[in-house]
């Protein structure tokens, strides 16, 4: 358990270091995620503890960003001024992205993936 937590923190720390050294806008956590994928590919073994720790973190993601959402308390002026634009842009972008992603996926499935895959559950 502790080793899995260390692995997550070590990847995040390395990601943060790369982020700062390169000056990339890519967040350290995302770099850390890519480093962990690479690590899992290099050191192949079953990791039930890591799956348990990350499963717990992902399952409780919502409560972790509540403090950030409460930060809106200081953004009232922005919300009243651009609230409509934000709602319209977000909803339209959501619908367009959903449609484009689903249609491209379906097209590429038919075009590039052999028919035998079609029956996958």
């Amino acid at each position: 358990m502790l080793r899995s937590i260390f692995l997550l923190l070590a990847c995040q720390l390395a990601g943060e270091a790369i982020h700062r050294l390169t000056g990339l806008a890519l967040p350290g956590t995302v770099i850390g995620m890519m480093l962990l994928v690479a690590w899992l590919g290099m050191v192949r073994r079953e990791r039930p503890a890591l799956v348990a720790v990350t499963g717990w973190l992902t399952a409780h993601l919502a409560v972790m960003f509540v403090p950030a959402c409460v930060g809106l308390i200081d953004e009232g002026a922005l919300l009243t001024r651009y609230g409509v634009g934000l709602a319209v842009a977000t909803a339209a972008s959501m619908a367009l992205t959903l449609a484009v992603t689903a249609l491209v996926f379906r097209w590429a499935l038919a075009r590039f993936v052999p028919e035998t895959e079609g029956g996958e559950a």
């Binding site: 850390g32 996926f105 590429a108």
Partner: protein, 232 residues
């Protein structure tokens, strides 16, 4: 006064935040996890009310709840696990996944920023909406990097997730997309964790593809936006 001091401790605000969240999480469970009953949607205004009622400035609350926010970092790193677990499927469906991911990430950024700029929004607001399709901690981090407002990004992402989870089924039916892999992946790319939770309710394959779409789009959108930040 000692009670005034207690209001500034991590103990107090962590306990209150978890308590309020648990209350709304229980109600959300009772609703069968309806997207409109998402616990963040209801905990946020209640906590804002409590801060106002107690006269607590946000920076005090933010510092007090740091232990909770800190966990977002390792949680994002942990998204590597579902990506790795789905490696066989990623190989098999490499073309649809790569093409749909690229198309979806670009559509999401360009449409959100494009439409919002029609409303005359300044750069800090455009930067806050640009990562709107990613999972919340990534959206907040990317928005912060681009000069946006993390709190605004968090709320935009919540709204995108809830509206996506609610409209995906009718929208995808209208488009005639029946394949659960395409449906799930699209929902994860556009509506992150909230979309993935909805996809799992419908079909396990859709859920797995939605989780994958969420994790991959966190990387794709963050990468595209960091490249855009270098060029602009």
């Amino acid at each position: 006064m000692s009670d005034a001091l207690l209001l500034a401790t991590p103990l107090f605000w962590l306990a209150v935040t978890l308590g309020v969240f648990e209350l709304f999480d229980t109600l959300s469970k009772r609703s069968g996890r309806h997207p409109l009953c998402h616990p963040v949607l209801w905990s946020t205004p209640v906590l804002v009310g409590l801060l106002l009622a107690t006269g607590t400035p946000y920076p005090v609350y933010k510092a007090a709840t740091m232990p909770l926010s800190f966990l977002l970092g390792p949680a994002v790193v942990g998204l590597a696990v579902p990506i790795w677990a789905e490696r066989a499927r990623i190989r098999r469906l490499a073309a649809p996944i790569a093409l749909a991911l690229g198309a979806g990430a670009v559509t999401s950024i360009v449409s959100a920023v494009g439409i919002l700029s029609l409303f005359g929004a300044p750069r800090e607001i455009l930067a806050s909406i640009a990562p709107r399709a990613t999972t919340n901690p990534v959206a907040m981090a990317v928005a912060g990097q681009l000069g946006g407002i993390p709190a605004l990004a968090a709320v935009i992402v919540m709204f995108a997730g809830i509206s996506g989870a609610m409209s995906a089924t009718p929208l995808l039916n209208a488009l005639g997309v029946r394949d659960y892999r395409a449906r799930g992946f699209a929902l994860g790319v556009t509506a992150h964790g909230i979309g993935a939770a909805r996809a799992f309710q419908v079909d396990p394959t859709a859920g797995a593809l939605a989780s994958l779409g969420m994790a991959l789009n966190a990387v794709a959108t963050a990468t595209l936006l960091s490249i855009a930040a270098l060029l602009l």
